[in-house]
Point group: D2
Chain length 344, copies 4
Amino acid sequence: MELNFRSDNETPAAPAIMEAIEKANRGAAHAYAEDNWSLRLNEAFSERFETDVCVIPMATGTVCNAIALASICPPWGSVYCHRSAHVYCDESGAPEFFGNGLRLVPIDGADGKLPHRPLDKAIRTSAGHGVHSYEPSAVSITQSTESGTVYQASEIANICEVAKAHGLPVHLDGARFANAVASTGSTPAELTWRAGVSLMSFGASKNGCIAAEALLLFDNHERREHIERLRKRSGHLLSKMRYVSAQLLAALEDDLWLHLATHANRQAAKFADAVGNHAGAELEFPVEANEVFVRWTPAGFTTLEEAGVEFLMWPGRDDLARFVFGHSTDERATDKLCKILGGL
Amino acid sequence: MELNFRSDNETPAAPAIMEAIEKANRGAAHAYAEDNWSLRLNEAFSERFETDVCVIPMATGTVCNAIALASICPPWGSVYCHRSAHVYCDESGAPEFFGNGLRLVPIDGADGKLPHRPLDKAIRTSAGHGVHSYEPSAVSITQSTESGTVYQASEIANICEVAKAHGLPVHLDGARFANAVASTGSTPAELTWRAGVSLMSFGASKNGCIAAEALLLFDNHERREHIERLRKRSGHLLSKMRYVSAQLLAALEDDLWLHLATHANRQAAKFADAVGNHAGAELEFPVEANEVFVRWTPAGFTTLEEAGVEFLMWPGRDDLARFVFGHSTDERATDKLCKILGGL
Amino acid sequence: MELNFRSDNETPAAPAIMEAIEKANRGAAHAYAEDNWSLRLNEAFSERFETDVCVIPMATGTVCNAIALASICPPWGSVYCHRSAHVYCDESGAPEFFGNGLRLVPIDGADGKLPHRPLDKAIRTSAGHGVHSYEPSAVSITQSTESGTVYQASEIANICEVAKAHGLPVHLDGARFANAVASTGSTPAELTWRAGVSLMSFGASKNGCIAAEALLLFDNHERREHIERLRKRSGHLLSKMRYVSAQLLAALEDDLWLHLATHANRQAAKFADAVGNHAGAELEFPVEANEVFVRWTPAGFTTLEEAGVEFLMWPGRDDLARFVFGHSTDERATDKLCKILGGL
Amino acid sequence: MELNFRSDNETPAAPAIMEAIEKANRGAAHAYAEDNWSLRLNEAFSERFETDVCVIPMATGTVCNAIALASICPPWGSVYCHRSAHVYCDESGAPEFFGNGLRLVPIDGADGKLPHRPLDKAIRTSAGHGVHSYEPSAVSITQSTESGTVYQASEIANICEVAKAHGLPVHLDGARFANAVASTGSTPAELTWRAGVSLMSFGASKNGCIAAEALLLFDNHERREHIERLRKRSGHLLSKMRYVSAQLLAALEDDLWLHLATHANRQAAKFADAVGNHAGAELEFPVEANEVFVRWTPAGFTTLEEAGVEFLMWPGRDDLARFVFGHSTDERATDKLCKILGGL
């Protein structure tokens, strides 16, 4: 049995997603997102988010994030985010590239969450030097976070309130948004626009799809033109967009996305329990979604590896490892992982 | 029966490609192009091109072209291309975006082909003003061309010779390269590196795939680092790249790509004959690949549309239309099209 | 006696300009264009242009042009200009750099002038392909032109009318605007905003200053913020801007700029007469400002050089040379030049 | 008497600099830095720095810094600097603009100095994530610092050693380099290339010039081409560069730059003594160059302002002010300032 907990990026697509792709493969369809799948996205997401959503499908989360930020921040503007944010740490400067030299300002915060008071202070102290300094322009948060924790709706509302007081829109990187919805029990609406979020990157690739993401605009739909220009100009307007859109529609259908995320979260919770009961290993962060960060001895991790378990040693750390559970994680594999750990 | 000849971008994927995707969907695989499919690309393309090829898979032709040009041309450099080139006309400035303001210099030429003597003159007259003007840096050609014609190996060699005399590398946009290989009977090697081409965008999306392209480096493999940085930075490093690479491998297997292109070319040839025999309609360009450009009366085209035929009226022209034949074009549809035209 | 007719960029500053710099050098002054000279620019230019002008001083014409275009054209927009325009030929891509990959579309026209009907056609044929192609966004003309000719107010009005019909603003590169005003006898207003020009680069460096240019906004003054951001971000907000602004104010005072330009034009006219009377040499373009383009034999030019005359052989041509007359050209030098030519 | 201690950017030019400009104003000179002043820069700086220096003159410090960093750091690279660095805080993203989205990584350190051990740690922890993260590429330090302190040669050597161990070149922002040389008594060579600095922005505008800075390359002179392209492309290749270069030559002549800086430093030291002797006011940082940061009560600062003293309240702080002393600060003004403070 495969004991791979390295990343949800390594999972295959869910059967229902594959079926949707096959169905989309019958006959001709208009190119460049003029097909019947892409044209149904607005309606499908609007229904699920209980508001009028403007949807722009793309193939990766990095481009969604980067274009989202470029659409709300001028080249001389700054975006405030958590120090561990994907946009800051893992995109090789995609936001800076699409945003023509905009700046990301990292802020520290426990458990991967952007704390709203330090955010307020950071915005206030960086303004006021006119044309000489970057202009505070936007805030970006990640849900679920890079630490496997989840913002409650009220926490997002606090952040949005601070941002709003400074006139800044809030972007949400939802690469693992499904896991957060499944975890909180709040509705997609409550975790986004109702809390004050302006636009989000809706991720599905990690959660059962092959490559399917969407930039969702909750307000200021006129940003769409800028976004579509950047999408084309960066080579992200797939000629056969139907296959991306078909995945997204299938993910939403009958809440497949939430069922898949719930499964993944449950595996993570099970393993978190095992870690909690272990004498040596410890949880680095609360486990609220599908990622488990374990602090342990290097020797401990080595033994685990020797037992055939695959996971990610955190870059630059020999006492921290990440285990990710996905839609396709076999419950028996989780059980086996727990048993192996328990025996060490 | 569907009579859609609007674009090969509207075709579905070929069955063998779908199968390859399904096969790739079994179990976990390393993310970010470290999977077993992506790792086999160098070998597969090297074998088919009879030389050591460095392959970087991506999802669209636009990004392949744009990154290719950015990797051989500094921001203050210029790229010479045909006035109808996709990079000049249809990418909304992707090369300029990735190339941080590089310049494309369009050159006129009959039948969509870049003529080597005017190219030589254009390069010569634009140099020599030092830091004040753009520096001639690269040449880009399209094969098959935007006019549905095809360069013979010797024509490419002539262009490359001119470029080489000025120290410029030559890029080939091969969105429809398969159609050119099928048309000329020359080998992939003869039409590229043996003629002097340095790097190419190998297109498969129009020819039976969903979204699968590859940037091929024939020389200067150290460009790879720059290219991979731009791929990541532009959001084009798919986390689940295996699905792109699996398509590419399947396209190469047993020369599926050439069989599909041969079929498409044959349909185009059949229709070209029908046009040639028609009293009113005329061919705008020689038909050498899978595209047929027809010059006719607006009334003629209207009748054809009313008969249920779908094609593309050329932007800005009411007397010119494009008909594209694809890997999935049903031979009976082609016959019906010919018959309908013959009856008008 | 110096017989240097190579370029007005080689001239020293006029005595009145030097005096103004010295006067500005007394005591402290606010930095970053908050000084008393910079603060008077709006009033001084508004008076001279008979309308409310928003003035942003800078040190070079290239940055004025580049920022002007970047402020009216999105990265995916195109700017139409004459094929010989400085922005297209001589700025190494500054507009593309500041404009993040905008595109310049060169148009042919006799005597260095952008012809309005071909302009109209170019705009019409390049639109209509949506997100795939560059969006027609602006027009830029040069006054006096790169060929030493001058647009009449009505010619500018024709161009602006075409631009306006397509919703595009018109920029005027006025590196040698003084020479055009002096030549036409029209007012600055008539040659700019009254004819429909939206913004211009007002050049003074070639005409008696050391380094002093200004971007003038005739309408949409809210563009100022974008412009000032780009000025700072590109390192063009001089800490001691007072010296630039003092030059500009001195140039306007008592119409010094027009007196200097009139002198330069007169020298050019005198030499144009000499060329007109010569058996071999010929004028390449009508001489309407301070530049004279002479077509002659290579041997003829060599003799002239051997007689101690300095001028510019046109890059890539051995039968064409440019002679430029400046505010500091000694009338006796012009006479001597004419006499030398007459004797050959 | 003027009691302006707001900024050395508000000072006029020194008499010898004005004379040099006037001398440079006699007759014609080659344009675009091909003049006899610009051509002498390499020799003059090489002599003063005791090594072979490649000099590229420009008009502002911001462009020097930005182009310097862009020449040693790819768009996907990061530059490590102190959190208070001008490149990070005061240039509105010029390095990001010229560097096409490079990233500045700010590091905390006492007294405005980049501490070498935290630098080492920052570089080590940010590497190792391949194409996903920014690539550590360069280090930039400011001498004298933004806090008015000065690095000793050994401190610079420590930083350069860390940088070198990671293969990174070190840039020095020398907007107030003269004050540091005057303060340490070390030679320009000892404070730069002998300590391991690769290139620097040599500032003269704040120290007696109108607008004159130079980018100095101590090694890798082939970077010159990239730098000159960016200079042109950003509109910083002044047509009449002779006036900038003449200022630089005059600054070096007979060590005028050091005499002017010594005077400014002495005034600062005098005021620092006065603050040191004051019951309420305190020095925020050691005073080692020409800037004095004073921590005091808001009421105290108000009284000082009411007494006619001009200085800069630090942005975002009501208990901190900066006093800058320049080459033109009248010794009697300094005395008066000290006396006023002493009486409060």
